[in-house]
């Protein structure tokens, strides 16, 4: 409870505090890269806004 414990990098089973030992540093991460996810997020938002814009343009009186 000192708040300074070394951060774990792998997931233990749900419901357990203790996880397996961390993988070697060279192991590729299962987590997607921030920049790539950010680009996807922006694309999805633009697509959603485009759809909403089209809905408004077509039907709003």
């Amino acid at each position: 409870m000192d708040g300074r414990r070394t951060e774990r990098t792998t997931a233990p089973d749900c419901g357990s505090d203790a996880g397996p030992p961390p993988p070697p540093a060279s192991e590729p991460s299962a987590e997607p890269a921030f920049g790539r996810v950010l680009a996807q997020v922006l694309l999805v938002q633009l697509a959603a806004l485009g759809l909403l814009w089209a809905l408004q343009a077509a039907y709003h009186r």
Binding site: E7, R8, C14, D17, Q45, L52, Y59, H60
Partner: protein, 568 residues
């Protein structure tokens, strides 16, 4: 409600409690209880954040808002993706790198104990009461719809949530959130599918009718401080509000502190940004479709059944007269809607939609009279908008689907409350109990205290929920009070990222920010609340930087005076 629907609800409750309790196995250390050993995968954290945000108020109130006001509310979320991206490169790495349990713990390291204590206290007060209102909203609706005492409805939401949150900590909260999120989305999709099947007109005609009443207007580019939802208030005010919520509120921060890595924490935030606007648009669109559905099937004059019963008992003749006028207006409106849907060409459709608009205005006028009558009889604000979806679900969905939607409302409430309780317990134990009373105890002791704190906050939230109806004005005051400091707390975190700023600047800035928002609220009430967050954060950064600069100058002057004193 049909027994089969109740079986669906009971099955959900039993599953969620058993699943939550199962997570308590192995949670023996405080880091596991509060942060899941910093081991959660990004997708689970992201879904959990989304489930927390999607409360029962969203399923009941936002859908109702879609039915009465249309899609414009979605503008409120336009700042969310930007806020998440900014947090991903600023506060998330900062807080993760500090290896803290709470966001406020970081403020002590950066500034000092006063800043931590003040911000953590503001969090406890606002979130403790907010947890009560989150339970209260579905509780009041369930009581009115099913005719139960309010305490039963509150217990239905509160008891299982407290049980699994207390036992399993953040593991239980996160993994039940994931499943609750799937249930909520499944229920929304099911209702939209049923609506399309039951709608007597084509989707294109349904949109024509909704568009004729202004309900498909999404974008409002007017720049006005007095308009609640515009593109600009959503983009600027919304960004600051979302940054405050996700960057400075422990109920959200704790989730990404529990992620297994910095990258997982950032990705989880982006994931919730990914779906927020499309999901919120779908929720509002569901309300719009229910509005169109009720153009062809006679809706109740008052959606709140408790108010309907009270008015029928107290002023039967008046209500009957209103009902018969409403029936006539509905028949005329339905005819106009069908003519608009069946129009052979665009000119005829435009003429029919004009006629429909006039009939719709006449029907709404009668509904307005009924709402005023209900307020007069009950002495309560009608809040009829919150009963549109429950009445639709219970009256029109096939057997099993209604139970699924009621279970989804419970899931939405429970997923939000569980996160609040877990974070309230964390801040109570870490920022106050361990910090000021028992700094040297072992994990077992802190774990026991954390469980007791969760139970106490759960009881407090249920108590607030039961009395929320009678405390109506007080809750409103608390919510306004909350909006005073939300932006200001974010301002303190922004200040922490500016080199050279000091605790005196943080405390002075926080007080100045809250005072500025209070003054704006008092003397310029036309300024809508989304702008309060921008004002609060801006004032904290400006005053905090100036006060820190002044303190640095004074410290340098004192230092050189002392050196001169020693030299002479």
């Amino acid at each position: 409600m049909d027994p089969l629907n109740w079986i669906v609800v009971a099955a959900y409750l039993a599953y969620v409690v058993v699943d939550g309790l199962r997570r308590s196995k192995g949670t023996h250390r405080i880091e596991g209880y509060f942060l899941a050993g910093r081991s959660l995968p990004w997708w689970a954290v992201g879904l959990s954040v989304m489930a927390t945000q999607l409360s029962a108020i969203t399923l009941i109130g936002t859908t109702g808002q879609g039915a009465t006001d249309g899609l414009r509310f979605v503008q409120f979320y336009f700042g969310l993706p930007l806020a998440m991206a900014l947090l991903g490169v600023t506060l998330v790495p900062l807080l993760r790198g500090a290896k803290v349990y709470t966001a406020y713990e970081y403020l002590e390291r950066r500034f000092g104990p006063s800043t931590r204590a003040l911000t953590a206290f503001l969090f406890l007060v606002s979130r403790g009461l907010a947890a009560g209102t989150i339970i209260s909203a579905p509780g009041v609706v369930f009581s009115a719809v099913f005719g139960w005492p309010l305490a039963w409805s509150v217990a239905l939401v509160g008891a299982p949530t407290v049980l699994y949150t207390m036992a399993g900590g953040i593991q239980a909260v996160t993994w039940t959130d994931v499943k609750q999120m799937f249930l909520i989305v499944a229920a929304l999709v099911a209702v939209v599918a049923v609506l399309f099947v039951q709608m007597p007109v084509s989707p294109g005609d349904a949109f024509q009718i909704a568009g004729a009443t202004g309900r498909l207007q999404v974008f409002d580019f007017s720049f006005s401080f007095s308009e609640k939802y515009t593109f600009w208030s959503g983009l600027f005010g919304g960004t600051v509000l979302m940054m405050s919520y996700f960057g400075a509120d422990q109920s959200q921060v704790q989730r990404y502190l529990a992620a297994r890595s910095v990258r997982a924490a950032k990705t989880s935030l982006l994931m919730s940004a990914y779906w927020k606007i499309p999901l919120q648009a779908c929720v509002l669109l569901l309300g719009v479709l229910i509005f169109v559905f009720y153009q062809f099937q006679r809706p109740p004059l008052l959606f709140n059944p408790a108010h309907e019963r009270a008015v029928v008992e107290a002023r039967a003749d008046e209500y009957e007269a209103l009902q018969s006028r409403f029936d006539e207006a509905f028949a005329l409106r339905e005819t106009a809607a069908r003519q608009a849907a069946d129009a052979p060409n665009e000119t005829a459709a435009a003429r029919a939609l004009d006629a429909f608009q006039a009939r719709e205005a006449a029907a709404q006028e009668i509904r307005g009279e009924a709402l005023a009558l209900a307020q007069e009889v009950t002495g309560e604000r009608p809040e009829d908008v919150n009963y549109i979806v429950p009445r639709f679900v219970l009256g029109n969905l096939p057997v099993g689907f209604a139970g699924l939607f009621v279970a989804a409302i419970l899931a939405a409430a429970m997923s939000s409350v569980s996160s609040e309780l877990n974070s309230l317990s964390t801040a109570t134990v870490v920022d106050f109990y361990r910090r000021w009373f028992r700094p040297e105890a072992g994990d077992a002791h802190y774990l026991a205290v954390s469980k007791v704190a969760t139970a106490c906050w759960g009881l407090f939230a249920c108590g607030v929920a039961v009395y929320a109806a009678s405390l109506g004005s007080l809750i409103e005051v608390v919510n306004r009070f909350g909006s005073f400091f939300y932006g200001s707390i974010l301002g303190v975190f922004l200040l922490a990222m500016i080199p050279g700023t000091r605790e005196v600047g943080a405390v002075a800035g926080l007080v100045a920010g809250m005072t500025a928002v209070g003054l704006v609220s008092l003397f310029a009430p036309e300024v809508e609340f989304l702008w309060h967050n921008v004002i609060g954060a801006g004032v904290v950064v400006a005053v905090g930087t100036a006060a820190s600069g002044a303190a640095a100058v004074r410290a340098r002057a004192d230092g050189s005076a002392q050196r001169q004193g020693r030299g002479s």
